[in-house]
């Protein structure tokens, strides 16, 4: 077995394959893509939160010199589409449900002409009653955002009513009995914010026609195969009639999924027969949103005097804004991890996704696992603090273990939370630091806090192909993109390792829906695990074929063969060897074609029976764990929190490219700092008040802590060469760790993120008043 022998390519910090083109400024991102006679499009976004469209008139706009085409709901198919609940249309039809909803679009010979014309499009709205608070939206008599909700189809057993787009409930054990066994019951409420993904490349795409006149969209998108499927559905054409090609991707973090601009650009291109480019301004990108949805989370947790958790009831409410999008899925993941990384035998969780007239939220890195993790890990410390227990010992007493059952009824496996916690405590010198002097001068207080993370590993389908060239080099075909995480480099390493080749002998093709086999996409921390497994299986398939031919040529049994650095040789007689190039050359001329390997992979245990009510989440193959320890300095006068250091320990099974893993951890921690302290889309009456990088503050070099990224490698039975993904957990535990460190520093708990100076000072004031 290859796993047992020394790895040659996997585990090496190779430079990323697209590094040179990126540092030279030659990587072509969607805003850089140009076609001959290309038109420039602008979208008319709704500026009303809830209104009937009484009149839409583009006659004046079309008179502007250079304006070529105008499209609206009249030009788009009527079929509704969507990720989970099919409630979306390309353009608003009859009414708008949120500010930033696409109402129409036009294209012109220049961007200036398009902008000028956009101002001349006449829209007459008749305002409808609005609802912005998700809790109010759940009440009887609230204005209804989707009157036709009942008729919408869904990809899961839908439970929806009123403004509730999703109701889901899971339970295990007997919570009544569990609470009866408890000596203390704690009830707390937590709030998380709308968070913008903040990729530096704004959303953009070009729709046009390829050399065979096929309608093609070149786009910056995390899910090319899913984008292709949804584009065909939105246009109501067979998938063979449209093609989607991935450009270089300037970050996504959950903000560039399925379709957004692609159907609009495609409709404009179709109507004119010309290429059409859409590049959003930063303001448009933020107003059109699809940000991380805000959550309100209520936890009721019962514990015994001995520190054992006996029961929990959790209620989650998330505001999805005008359309449900990925918010349904985030809730599916949030309810799955109602117990967090802890053994809670009796648990009931209810989740509600609620339509309002707020912006259309969707999802961001961490999906819904992130929001529930903040609540769970905060409450662990709050309970420990109220009971006078050590927060680490309280966690240890309750850590989840292999075989424990999640509230989704799925048994948990490959649990390594004890290991990540032990290493994090040791690396951060926790034992010494908790005893450290808290008072640093007149105004500054020191604190340290911990946050554990658990998330699913493995989601739905991936497939891959490896095709050989006559010179013995090989090309990987997959629909999975590289957001910037370096996974294309890692996939090459996995293939090269399995095939016994050098990494430079393997490359990866441009992602193209016409030729790349299906992959769900670069989401859910799944790429290295799911796409990695698919690539490894395709490489195994190819290797078998290479060895069959090599055995024939070398006159040795297949089982005796091994490959390394592009050579296939006999283990027992090293004089018998042949280059992979030779095998493929022989195959081309004698056998009929060089080797092609293919595979299919499913990142879940199988199609289980439905559990609970209205549950939209698929079970996962395995799970992944991490621990963050944050050290902060709090200025008690200004409320300013400085994160001094974060120790981040993640079990990645195996680090396929350690430098890439380190980059993921560091980048994730900094996003977590933004989540915890700085970033919030401020929404008032459905309007985003801070749609720019000046007022939506993301961490700069001046806001970041020292980071100690620690990679643990406890190989997974299911991962390629033991690897698990880590894209999301790296930004999760740091958020509650910071909240817990703040309480450790000044004895004040803030249950709403971001913990701005204002919120912190308010919490201090409230605490002083209670005294």
């Amino acid at each position: 077995m290859r796993d047992q022998k020394e790895l040659k390519v996997v585990g090496v910090s190779l430079p990323r394959v697209d590094g040179v083109q990126k540092v030279r400024g030659r990587a072509v991102y969607a805003p850089d893509f140009v076609l001959p006679r290309m038109l420039y499009a602008k979208v008319l976004w709704s500026d009303r939160p809830h209104a009937k469209i009484v009149r839409l008139d583009a006659s004046k706009a079309l008179q502007v010199p250079g304006v070529v085409v105008f499209v609206s709901a009249e030009d788009a198919p009527r079929n509704r589409y969507g990720v989970y609940l099919k409630d979306q249309l390309v353009f608003a039809r009859g009414k708008v449900r949120h500010i930033g909803e696409p109402v129409a679009a036009l294209a012109a010979e220049s961007e200036q002409a398009a902008l000028e014309a956009l101002k001349l499009v006449e829209v007459v709205y008749e305002d409808l009653p609005v609802v912005f608070d998700p809790l109010e939206a759940m009440q009887d008599g609230a204005p209804i955002v989707h009157p036709d909700l009942e008729s919408y189809s869904a990809t899961y057993p839908k439970v929806a009513y009123g403004n509730v787009a999703l109701y889901t409930r899971l339970s295990i054990g007997d919570t009544e009995k569990g609470f009866a066994e408890a000596d203390h019951i704690f009830e707390d409420e937590f709030k998380t914010q709308a968070m913008y993904q903040g990729y530096v490349e704004p959303r953009a795409c070009v729709a046009g026609f390829d050399q065979r006149d096929k309608l093609t969209v070149w786009t910056s998108n995390q899910q090319i195969a899913e984008c292709h499927a949804e584009l065909a559905a939105a246009l109501d054409v067979p998938m063979t009639d449209v093609r989607v090609v991935g450009t270089a991707l300037g970050g996504g973090f959950g903000g560039k999924l399925k379709t957004h601009l692609e159907p609009i650009a495609a409709l404009l291109a179709k109507k004119t027969g010309r290429a059409v480019k859409i590049v959003l301004t930063r303001e448009e990108d933020m107003i059109a949103s699809r940000a991380r949805p805000p959550y309100i989370i209520r936890l009721k947790t019962g514990v015994t005097n001995e520190g054992r958790i006996t029961a929990r009831e959790t209620q989650l409410v998330s505001d999805c804004g005008g359309y449900s999008d990925h918010v349904v899925g985030t809730m599916g993941l949030a309810v799955t991890f109602a117990q967090g990384a802890y053994k809670i035998p009796n648990c009931e969780v209810k989740g509600y996704v609620v339509y309002t007239n707020n912006p259309n939220y969707s999802c961001m890195r961490g999906y819904g696992a992130h929001q529930i993790d903040f609540a769970n890990e905060s409450q662990m410390d709050m309970i420990a603090s109220r009971m006078g227990w050590d927060p680490v010992e309280f966690r240890r007493e309750n850590l989840i273990e292999d075989g424990d059952v999640l509230v989704s009824t799925q048994p948990i496996k490959e649990v390594t939370i004890k290991e990540t916690m032990d290493v994090a405590l040791e690396r951060s010198k926790w034992v010494e630091k908790v005893k450290q002097e808290k008072v640093l001068g007149d105004k500054v207080r020191y604190g340290i806090g911990i946050g554990n993370t658990i998330i699913n590993m493995g989601l739905l389908s991936s497939s891959a192909m490896i095709k050989f060239n006559g010179d013995g080099t090989a090309t990987i075909l997959t629909s999975v993109m590289d957001l910037g995480t370096g996974n294309h480099t890692a996939l090459i390493q996995i293939a090269a390792e399995e095939l016994g080749m050098l990494a430079e002998q393997v490359n990866i093709a441009e992602v193209d829906s016409d030729s790349s086999p299906y992959d769900l996409g670069q989401i859910a921390s799944r790429t290295i695990f799911d796409a990695g497994n698919a690539v490894r299986l395709a490489a195994k398939d190819a290797r078998k074929k290479l060895f069959e031919t090599a055995a024939e040529l070398l006159q040795v049994p297949e089982e005796d063969l091994e490959s390394e650095s592009g050579m296939i040789f006999s283990r027992t007689d090293r004089s018998k060897e042949i280059a992979i190039a030779g095998v493929n050359g022989y195959r081309i001329w004698v056998k009929g074609g060089p080797v092609v390997g293919g595979s299919g992979w499913l990142g879940r245990p199988g199609f289980e029976e439905e559990v609970g009510e209205g549950y939209p989440q698929a079970p996962s193959k395995t799970f992944v764990f991490g621990t963050h320890i944050a050290e902060v300095e709090v200025d008690i006068e200004t409320g300013r929190v400085t994160v001094v250091k974060v120790t981040a320990v993640h079990d990645v099974g195996r680090a396929v490219n350690p430098l890439g893993v380190q980059g993921q951890i560091e980048g994730g921690v900094v996003q977590g700092v933004g989540y915890a302290l700085m970033e919030e889309l401020q929404v008032k009456d459905g309007v985003i008040l801070n749609p720019d990088f000046l007022n939506y503050r993301m961490p700069t070099t001046l806001d970041i802590p020292e980071i100690d990224p620690v990679i643990l490698e406890i190989p997974s039975e299911f991962g390629p060469f033991g690897a698990k993904g880590l894209g999301e957990p790296v930004m999760m535990g740091v958020v509650p760790a910071i909240a817990n460190a703040i309480e450790n520093a000044i004895g004040v708990r803030v249950t709403e993120v971001p913990i701005t100076a204002e919120r912190l000072l308010q919490a201090v004031k409230e605490k002083n008043q209670r005294k």
């Binding site: 910090s13 430079p15 990323r16 697209d18 590094g19 040179v20 990126k22 540092v23 030279r24 400024g25 030659r26 990587a27 072509v28 991102y29 805003p31 850089d32 140009v34 993904q197 903040g198 990729y199 530096v200 490349e201 704004p202 270089a248 991707l249 300037g250 970050g251 973090f253 590049v279 301004t281 930063r282 957001l483 910037g484 995480t485 370096g486 430098l659 890439g660 380190q662 980059g663 560091e666 980048g667 994730g668 921690v669 900094v670 996003q671 720019d692 990088f693 000046l694 993301m698 700069t700 070099t701 001046l702 970041i704 980071i707």
Partner: protein, 157 residues
């Protein structure tokens, strides 16, 4: 239209520009120098940073009509005889590139720093690139790359 003459990556060019045209538009749309990226259009993210007379500027905030006689360096002008600049090489070696969209601006801000201060400490590095947003890396690898490049440039000099 306003006539301007400027040097871009060592080549003198004369262009007739519109009053509202930005330096960024001239670079990208007229000259096809797509390495300079637009991240925000308001000078907040630094992705469009180029060097103007040796100083970093956000080219989205500079009107082309005002840069007559300027000397502009973009990412495309950094490599010499097909060889990457030490900063470009160090960004690859140290893992400072992820999505790469901030990379050209980040490298040019770093270059301005190293031209002024060949041996910057971490504080100086942080201040020099504080106007360049990176959402992927968390900046730590970028600091490492700038230090590595500085060291290589000093030992080559």
């Amino acid at each position: 239209m306003i006539n301007i003459t400027l040097t871009i990556n060592g080549i003198v060019r004369t262009l007739a520009v519109l009053p509202e045209e930005r330096l960024l538009d001239v670079l990208r749309d007229r000259l096809g120098l797509m390495g300079t990226k637009e991240g925000c259009g308001s000078g907040d993210c630094g992705a469009c940073t180029v060097l103007m007379n040796g100083r970093p500027v956000t080219s989205c905030m500079v009107l082309a009509a005002t840069v007559d006689q300027a000397d502009i360096l973009t990412i495309e002008g950094l490599e010499q005889d097909g060889k990457l600049h030490p900063l470009q090489q160090a960004f690859i070696d140290e893992g400072a590139v992820q999505c790469g969209f901030c990379t050209p601006g980040m490298i040019l801000s770093s270059l301005a720093l190293l031209q002024e201060n060949p041996d910057p400490d971490e504080e100086a590095i942080k201040r020099a690139i504080a106007g360049n947003l990176c959402r992927c890396t968390g900046y730590a690898r970028i600091f490492a790359a700038i230090k590595t490049a500085a060291l290589r440039m000093r030992s080559d000099a």
